[in-house]
Symmetry: C2
Subunit: 352 residues, 2 copies
């Protein structure tokens, strides 16, 4: 929010890493998770970055993560592999999965890595962008870590926000779509609750199908899918692809990691990498992607809009600015971080 | 529609094939296209089946299709290939692409085939289902064949309905999602126009952003994406993946194949196949997919709904019924087919 204190990314990384080490994570892994959490903040995916630290710390303290995991491929043929996360923090599993997908694509033209026994990995866009930064087309799917959506026509919360991220190399920064299949991600509901704000109509409904706007009542309601049955269909198919096919949880067996810090979540994800050099000269393809995007950005505006923004223009396009000016953290989150630092006996976050 | 004459699938296939042969297509190719057009009708994708024959015939007569194409891979590495359709009818290109993706997946665990110089291929779900019928997970993306959507915040029609289809093997019939990234596919707008029906609010807006409900005025308006900027983002990314990366048209260079029967459309598509046997026992995985789906179908209903329908329940679930009872064709379409038969000098469609 405007006026919130801005914390330089390196300061934030150092604090997050120290907190994670105090929770039992080895230093190298803590640095990796901290880096990827701050990467979510730098993309403006604030519901998936530092905001999640208290939850991760509670799970670390409860023994819900394996802090000495053996993350390993358990199946592979050609460009397709299945990674067992051994209940590690999801960031560690997904960084490994994204790198493996890129490696497989270098050898086989295309790589697809599914994960099981993973955990919440933060912002989807971070992993699709990793693939694009390697010069490839990247796609990421995940089963969300708590069921907040009913099937279309139903009332039981059997589905999550199951997100998709797609990133393509382009001049300047990749084109990056990162979206929940629901109108609003649940992280936004939590942010609204933390800030004492109401939600707009269209984000959630109650069990009778009426609009739900008080985030404090969110636990009893359902997020709404984009496009009604279409968004329900996307959430279902992404969940089957990222969860069920990988032997990971989906549907009724999804663990609500906000309510249960101990039970293994068996989270599933999938990441795809396409080696563009098979299809053409990667620099030419990136330039063509950029040209299509620029043409759309420069096209005529509809009354009431000040710009046509493409996926990634706000997130990756704003990353340099957030790197320079720091990451804004709300007073409520800063208070949580101070309390956490005191509990863990680590130095508080320096906001000078 | 209820009460429309129902034509048995074999009768319809025979008529379509004869029409296509009269337009210059070799008999084998005509039979293939006819079969895949009827397959769209059997899935209930009526805007993509027989309904399209008059348009295809106009393009055949104008020389807009290559009737003796050399459809061939122009690039391949491991599981990734690029197919040049040589301006063949799109059904021929896409059937070849789907089979190639399955073959690649058998050898490399995963197959992705992009197409360029293809054409409108009918229903997306037909090709994803082909992959699922081979026991694999299938995904299909395409650039739509006419731009009917403005970017989010813009007014120029630079985007199409760019669809996605995903099919997964399951007991009974595959789970099959087949959806445009717009609230309504343009085929539905055309059907409404043909039937003299108004469109509901939410399908289209005019250039000022006001609701547009008269399908006769559709040419001046924009389809609306699902979820606002999210559906715009999906349409954009699917178009870049299926079009731009394959060297196919996307954006301003898309040819409106409803308005121009001669210019090569250079349509792009992409199809993915994942060999499930790499991830586990395919029969067990299909059973697990089925179990998740059955659990959702059996869950509590929201007031106002009579069932929870999963993707594919209406299309593939209704296929047997349409095979048995025939395919309903509207009086307006039947009149078009009669006129076309007279013009081409072929036997009219037998509806006895």
């Amino acid at each position: 929010m405007t006026g919130d204190p801005c914390i330089p990314a390196p300061v934030l990384r150092g604090f997050l890493a120290a907190a994670l080490v105090s929770g039992g994570l080895p230093e190298g892994d803590a640095a990796t998770v901290a880096r990827l959490m701050v990467e979510a903040d730098l993309l403006g995916a604030e519901g998936h970055g530092t905001f999640r630290l208290p939850r991760y710390m509670a799970r670390l303290r409860a023994g819900g993560f394996n802090t000495l995991p053996d993350i390993r491929p358990v199946a592979q043929k050609g460009g397709l592999a299945l990674l067992d996360g051994d209940n590690a923090m999801g960031h560690l599993v997904m960084e490994r999965a994204a790198h493996l997908a890129v490696d497989l694509a270098r050898s086989h033209g295309i790589g697809w890595v599914g994960t099981r026994r993973s955990n919440h990995a933060g912002a989807a866009g971070v992993y699709a962008t990793m693939v694009a930064e390697a010069g490839m087309a990247g796609l990421y799917l995940a089963v969300g870590n708590a069921n907040h959506m009913a099937p279309w026509g139903g009332t039981e919360l059997l589905l999550s926000t199951n997100p998709i991220a797609i990133a393509l190399p382009a001049p300047g920064h990749p084109v990056l779509l990162d979206m929940a299949t629901t109108v609003a991600a649940y992280g936004k509901v939590k942010l609204a609750a933390q800030r004492g704000q109401q939600m707009p109509e269209g984000w959630m409904i109650d069990a009778s199908g009426n609009p739900l706007t008080d985030p404090a009542q969110a636990a009893g309601g359902s997020l709404l899918p984009i496009g009604g049955p279409k968004g329900f269909g996307l959430s279902l198919m992404f969940g089957l692809l990222a969860g069920t096919l990988n032997g990971a949880a989906f549907g009724r067996d999804v663990i609500d990691f906000n309510a249960d810090d101990r039970t293994e979540t068996n989270t599933g994800q999938a990441v795809l990498a396409l080696d563009l050099s098979v299809l053409g000269d990667p620099a030419v393809l990136a330039a063509q992607v950029g040209a299509v995007c620029d043409d759309i950005r420069a096209s005529a505006l509809r009354p009431g809009f000040d710009a046509i923004r493409l996926p990634g223009d706000r997130s990756l396009g704003g990353r340099e600015d957030r790197l320079a000016r720091g990451i804004p953290l709300s007073p409520a989150l800063l208070a949580q971080l101070d309390q956490l630092a005191a509990e863990q006996g680590i130095a508080p976050l320096n906001r000078s």
